[in-house]
Symmetry: C2
Subunit: 318 residues, 2 copies
């Protein structure tokens, strides 16, 4: 009877919703701007509207919906369904989003951290299909992470597990938004790699003719620019150090990398894989797959649907 | 009927065996030198003899024994019960130790990595009693680690998980025995802290009147020696960086520290805790307990017994 799932992936810029079957196939998807600046209530209203539009356009009845999985920026309390003030959303101080959405939609709702949802999506239907454990790193504006062990997200004691982006890589390194210094995020994110590029140009007294973007760096690297290639290589090495640490600590079967930075392809992945091999223990590297994500922007909605299935199967029911 | 457990904790220097009940209470314990230099077969023979002596001195019959848990230096394949060439034991290249001991003793045998066994022991009966997740670091000759999540050791894809000692702390730092540079072990182990102390003395052109040992460093620190305190503080900071990384990645409820280095007490733990607080995300530090191990040298045999119980309950039976 409850053979369908609704899910959402809410970000500071865009929101996605999807209608899926229990096999994780997306039957209908929508994407709209979040307009986060208009505040919390407006966003929730728009999200509910998107759920209704997704149902309608997908030709599905809400009574067929087992529940709704929602990927949302952390920190969250997934057990109690509470959002705590995500850095890129204003006015979300301790919002009981699960209860609000359950009231609005009349179906069970499960919240999952957005990076965890992406990891779970890749595990279920993407690059990680068939593995037992993986760690997913999202290299975008920041560096997000998710740890999936034996098919489930490892949340930790306070729901913060998976914050690989805030691993200290260089003790007195770059200042991070979290207050720490030398976090992986300050080197491996999109802005991190651009900072590295700018630093190299400055040291060589070169003034860039156009603004430095990830896309342009990809173009320059392919055209053979040695400084660009060096900036990407240094980033790959830094990511490799962090991933080697993860491999030694958790020994996952797979590391999945997603986000804009992975578009740099082999210029990034080559030195990254080499560094992991150099640093991690042989047994931790044996059979370790380091791959690009496969689901693109759908990872979040697919993973959020999976989170719903796992939780509703576990006992929470509507 | 099978209400008792035998267990062992085998090290390069000493071997311990114990007779326990299923509540994890040690009814009888033995400790003898391993004499590892006499080779593999001699060691196995002595271990079997110790099991028999433990039974006899404990007044127990082998028919009462549910099984035998054995903590052994890694790398191991715990699922297949194989020992692969541990760095401090010669001649142990791919030894099917589980099968050998099952043949000798006629009861089911479970192998567990020694650092994991210690972690599991502390979780079950020591500092971690009542927690749901902990990470244990053994600061001894090297730095060993064990990850316990929801009551079970996380082994990873190839059984190597928990190798926190080989986390890169300083990219071009001290050479480690594993071939990498800047591993936590080279700063946080007993020899690591002594190296730090020697470095400080050299820089201050001071020749130590006696050999530097952990015990003496503890004495000097208590007597107010500022260089010794500084060496210990630097070690605490380095361990703190590593532990903050673990806290961000796994968000455990507790970090348990064991081994000789923890005898340095507050001189080490103070700066260590401060550094974790400074580096880790607030949610990862919230409620995080960083404590000394409680079981001392018994952690290994108690944890090995727990590993046996968990595995035999899971299906392997004799």
């Amino acid at each position: 009877m409850h053979s369908l799932i609704l899910s959402a992936d809410v970000g500071g810029t865009n929101m996605r919703t999807a209608l899926l079957n229990v096999k994780g196939e997306v039957l209908k998807g929508l994407k709209r701007p979040s307009m986060a600046h208009k505040g919390r209530e407006a966003l929730i209203k728009r999200l509910v509207q998107m759920f209704q539009d997704t149902l309608r356009e997908g030709g599905a009845d809400i009574r067929k919906i087992r529940g709704i999985g929602v990927g949302f920026p952390g920190p969250l309390d997934t057990e109690r369904g509470i959002v705590f003030n995500p850095p890129n959303l204003k006015g979300w101080e301790e919002v009981h989003l699960r209860d609000i959405l359950e009231q609005e939609m009349g179906r069970p709702v499960v919240l999952e951290n957005d990076a965890n949802a992406a990891a779970l999506g890749e595990y279920w239907k993407g690059a990680g299909k068939g593995t037992r454990s993986l760690v997913c790193l999202t290299l975008g504006t920041g560096v997000g992470g998710g740890v999936v062990l034996e098919g489930r997200v490892w949340h930790g004691a306070k729901g913060i597990a998976g914050e690989i982006g805030h691993m200290t890589l260089v003790k007195n390194g770059r200042r991070c938004g979290c207050g720490n210094r030398g976090c992986l995020e300050t080197y491996g994110s999109a802005s991190g790699i651009i900072t590295t590029m700018k630093g190299l140009l400055e040291r060589h007294h070169i003034k860039p003719k156009e603004a430095i973007t990830l896309e342009r760096m990809g173009k320059w690297a392919r055209a053979g620019d040695s400084l660009t290639r060096r900036a990407i290589r240094e980033t790959g090495v830094n990511l490799g150090v962090g991933i080697a640490n993860v491999a030694n600590l958790l020994n996952p079967e797979m590391i999945v990398l997603s986000g804009g930075v992975t578009n740099l392809g082999g210029y990034l992945f080559g030195p990254l894989r080499e560094e992991v091999k150099k640093r991690a223990l042989p047994k931790a590297v044996e059979g370790l797959k380091i791959v690009r994500a496969e689901l693109g922007d759908n990872a979040g909605v697919i993973g959020a649907a999976r989170a719903l299935l796992l939780t509703v199967a576990q006992g929470r029911n509507g």
